[in-house]
């Protein structure tokens, strides 16, 4: 895993690699091109105003932003502790955090029902407090937090772990408290990774489908986010489904592109290869 880049002359790509890449690019790009080819910008804009589209778009934006905010707030301390401390059960905790990345979302939704549903383990108590999660927008946000959190925590953790220990030591020698070091040294150093994690998390939350429909249900304006609306309209109103799909595609593309551009371009941070013995970025 340590980066040992062999330099066989810059800009030279083996033919086999070109063929493999070409095939992969074709496989990945063709469906998106096909989707885009089905609609025109004019039609897209005209349909944006349609209540069903606007409603799903608004709900998706609100829920994924809220979910991302929650993940970032809870994720930064978690990632910091995971990056800087060793403790019993840490491996187990890491696996637990990563689990939603590989778990089928429907299973996650079902598990959420078992926990936070009306008859669920915690749901019974929440009910006493007057909090209902299934069939509510809050439930959508919870499902998105559950599914998207690892996509923030993994890069955030790598960012914290990659902070040059010499800088931290220097700060410590100068008498900075841990809180102070965290704020003035760690956070700025890890910022590119935190931004990357935030976009990944937002993109995952935006695309969440399985856990949402299982846990929160499907009701326009309340729990029917864009991916759910695509699924439902696919059978009855193909044009709307296409418009919603293209919107999702554009938004996700924008988020991921922003992620690629942001760390190097906006913050001027060099790739981490400069740090001896640091962990790989991803």
């Amino acid at each position: 895993m340590t980066a040992q880049v062999r330099k066989d002359g810059p800009g030279w790509i083996p033919v086999a690699a070109i063929a493999a890449m070409g095939l992969l690019v074709l496989l990945l790009a063709l469906p998106f091109v096909a989707l885009l080819a089905r609609t025109s910008p004019g039609q897209l804009l005209a349909r944006l105003a349609e209540p069903s589209v606007a409603q799903a778009l608004r709900l998706s934006l609100v829920t994924s932003l809220a979910a991302t905010a929650i993940v970032v707030m809870l994720g930064i301390p978690t990632a910091y502790v995971l990056a800087t401390r060793e403790f019993r059960g840490k491996r187990l905790l890491e696996v637990l955090i990563d689990l939603p990345m590989v778990l089928p979302p429907t299973v996650a939704g079902f598990a959420l029902l078992m926990a936070f549903g009306r008859m669920g383990l915690a749901g019974q108590w929440l009910r006493v407090l007057g909090v209902t999660l299934p069939f509510t927008t809050l439930g959508v946000i919870l499902a998105q937090v559950f599914m998207a959190a690892p996509f923030f925590i993994a890069p955030a953790r790598t960012g914290f772990a990659g902070a040059d220990p010499r800088l931290l030591e220097a700060a410590a020698t100068l008498g900075a408290s841990e809180a102070h070091r965290f704020r003035r040294v760690m956070l700025p150093l890890a910022l590119p990774s935190l931004i990357a994690g935030t976009s990944m998390c937002a993109a995952r939350a935006l695309g969440e489908f399985g856990a949402t429909i299982t846990f929160a249900g499907n009701l326009p304006g309340v729990t029917q986010t864009m991916p759910l609306a695509v699924y439902v309209t696919l059978q009855s109103d193909l044009d709307t489904a296409v418009v919603l799909s293209v919107l999702l595609l554009v938004m996700s593309f924008g988020l991921l592109l922003g992620l690629r551009v942001a760390p190097g371009g906006w913050w001027g941070v060099r790739p981490r290869a400069a740090h001896p013995g640091s962990a790989p970025t991803r």
Partner: protein, 274 residues
Amino acid sequence: MSHRRSRCLAARVVLGALVSLVLVAATSEAKGPSPSLRVFAAASLADAFREIAREFERAHPGISVQLNLAGSNQLAAQLEQGAMGDVFASADQRWMDHVGSLSLIAGQPALFARNRLIVCVPRTNPARIERLQDLARPGVKVVIGAQAVPVGAYSREALEKLGRTQGFPRDFARRVLANVVSEEENVKSVVGKVQLGEADAGLVYRSDVTRALARFVRVFEIPDSANVIASYPIAVVKDAPEPAAAQAFVALVLSPEGQGIVRRHGLIPAAEGP
């Protein structure tokens, strides 16, 4: 460094195990018992068709039946997109007509069963529903099928009809629909939400209340005058990979034996009145 290397090794071992697992699964899939008959059946037919499939496999050794169970609209969409199927059994005439209009079926579809709508509530009855009128009470969490799913369309129709029935408020349908907390993508999802106690009430087919489910729910009948009788047509798919077996499967469904299975699972056999 050595710590990292050992982790790297562990990762490789895990990756290797996964790859071999996939290979094993793929090869076992490939050499599975052939030929297989692909039956696309509405979700509400799940239990009945599982039994019919077992019966079919017993009568036709060497042929295995693969059931593709989903909302009829989804099955129709799959066939439309070129999915390989042999038999299509829909929960309403609409989606059978739809695939028929695209010349995707061979011959005439045959009606093989009917179904009734009922209202089911969790056994614990959290909303204290004692009669159908209670569905309109504000705050009752009602779950129905989405409009595009047959059960969703039938449910809306039945609610409209109840609104014209004596003893029900005229705006019954509107008030119940205002209570809807989720429009599920197939009837089994509606059942699931009620069984789990998350919904206060759901509109489903009587056949969905299987013996296993009956322990968890209470059923309220919808009177005949307002009930919508779902009809289930079945047809052989045009260009079916296994046309002969497909014909035999349809024949089994329509035979006294198949109709007996249909009845045992809460559906109404085609020959009988509703």
